[in-house]
Amino acid sequence: MEEYITQRAKIAGEALAQLPTGEIAKAINILQAAYERDGRVYIFGNGGSLALATHWVSDFNKTVFSHNLDKHERRFQAVRLPSTEEELTAWANDVGYDMVFAGPLQNYLQDSDVVIAVSSSGNSLNVIKAVELTKQRRVPVIGISGMDGGRLRELADAKIHVQSAPGEYELVEGVHAVVLHIMVKYFKDYFNHRLMQTA
């Protein structure tokens, strides 16, 4: 059993060593620009990816500023979509599951916003529908994908693609969690540094 575990850890290590650092840097710049214009960040995905999205929203809105919560005049405005279960079930039941993200996103999306789409296959229809809506509005998209990247990799402005064999969801979702935490840590360090500069 230990051999199996070592083997899985090795695969994860290899995936981490090949992180698309340039694309993650681009994503960080896109988020920085949204912060400068007081725009919002919408994030969504299915299943485990939705859990990652929710976790990231909490970190990004609060943990990033947690050392000096009251010292920041402006904080991020990240929102997981749909923001209520009621919207999720209403869109799925009344219109179709492919509209659960694009539907609510249409209510919110402004020119100054940014969208983060998380899909391990890169091909989830509901994720792609929301990304297409975003692209139509000329709003930047950060696409976090796995496997071969699918449609999401083609459409996104920052293409954070964790290359993997088909069906490697556990690996991909794990690496996605690392990438999302890198963004959190970057901005946490950045805002601390800025506070020190102005102190």
């Binding site: 681009k26 620009a33 214009r37 100054s112 000329r138 500069q197």
Partner: protein, 350 residues
């Protein structure tokens, strides 16, 4: 109502290679960053007022766009077929003619906003192309393309100019290196104003006809990637030296790029410990940029102000800047494009 904005920029190296006289024959390259000083434009639909109103340094209200004195607004309205019932206001953090690319930032914000006014969302590349077309094709200004792309894209970029396209390559600086550079910068506004066109006209003619002149621009282009490398390493002293070498080359491009007052200010800063510097923009006035150890800033600024007084320059200032990632954007939009129905679908100037 719609509010659009576009940032000004600091161009470090390679200016002049964005003129078609240069990049039609070989690749042009510039490194620049957007800064936290913006041009804001407000667009208001006035369904009951059949006039075109433009408020900027002057205020104009006319029956037809053709009568507007403001050339950029006039040509943009004519080109997009917007004939009447519109009010456009301009606001800026800094005055014009600073060498920070403000006129092109204005055009980028204008094209971004007017497209939104017509219900069309355009991205960074389309905004840059539309603004470059406005200034170089419609207004026949002898200017390069770097400022349109810098303003539209935002952030720190190497811009590459090819005959058929412009490539925007982001310089992915982390916050520590960005802050290091920000803290080293002195931006000194000379309050000597000039019109970029007069300098650039001479420069364009010479780049086309004069091989020695082209060689100077080529040497500046060749310094862009070394500048980027030094930047990524956080090697500020090298950056300062490169800036100064670039400025010494640039001075040779047109007879009127520098003058004795600018030279005196430049020398004062270097004598008081600046690593290097240059005049920003086309030349002959505007802002001087210096890189210097932060602990020397107070002495350098004092020397600059003293030198300015000696040469009877009034209302000079040092401008604090930070770099920004944001480019041209719509920051506010409560406009309903379907309300704009008094217009004929397409109206073109002859």
């Amino acid at each position: 109502m719609i509010i659009s904005r576009a940032p000004l920029r600091i161009s470090f190296m390679g200016g002049g290679s964005d003129l078609s006289a240069f990049y039609e024959k070989e690749v042009g390259r510039v490194i620049s960053t957007a800064i936290d000083k913006y041009i804001y434009l407000v667009f208001n639909h006035t369904p009951m007022v059949n006039r075109v109103t433009a408020r900027y340094f002057h205020s104009e209200s006319v029956n037809h766009p053709l009568e507007l004195k403001h050339d950029r607004i006039r040509e943009a309205l004519l080109d997009l077929g917007i004939k009447s019932n519109i009010e456009i206001g301009a606001f800026a953090h800094l005055p014009s003619r600073t060498g920070l690319g403000s006129s092109s930032s204005f055009s980028v914000a204008l094209m971004k906003g007017l497209h939104a006014y017509l219900g069309k969302k355009i991205g960074a590349r389309e905004s840059a192309e539309a603004a470059a077309r406005l200034e170089t094709d419609l207004l026949k200004e002898p200017i390069g393309k770097q400022d349109h792309y810098a303003a539209a894209a935002g952030g720190f970029n190497v811009l590459e100019f090819h005959p058929d396209r412009v490539e925007v390559q982001p310089v992915l600086l982390d916050f520590e290196r960005r802050a290091l550079l920000e803290e080293s910068i002195i931006l000194f506004y000379t309050n000597i104003t000039r019109d970029a066109s007069t300098v650039l006209t001479e420069q364009s003619v010479r780049t086309k006809d004069d091989s020695a002149h082209r060689e100077i621009v080529r040497r500046m282009v060749d310094m862009v990637l070394p500048f980027k490398d030094a930047l990524m390493k956080g090697n500020l002293e090298d950056l300062g030296a490169l800036l100064s070498r670039g400025w010494q080359l640039k001075r040779q491009l047109a007879s009127n790029i520098s003058n004795p007052v600018i030279d005196a200010l430049y020398n004062a800063a270097l004598e008081h410990g600046a690593w290097g510097g240059k005049l920003l923009g086309a030349g002959a006035g505007g802002c001087l940029l210096f890189l210097a150890p932060p602990e020397r800033h107070a002495a350098i600024k004092a020397a600059l102000f003293a030198c300015a007084r000696e040469h009877s320059l009034e209302e000079t200032s040092d401008i604090p800047v930070r770099f920004v990632q944001s480019g041209a954007e719509i920051v506010f939009n409560t406009h309903h494009p379907q309300m704009v129905r008094t217009l004929e679908p397409v109206w073109k100037s002859t």
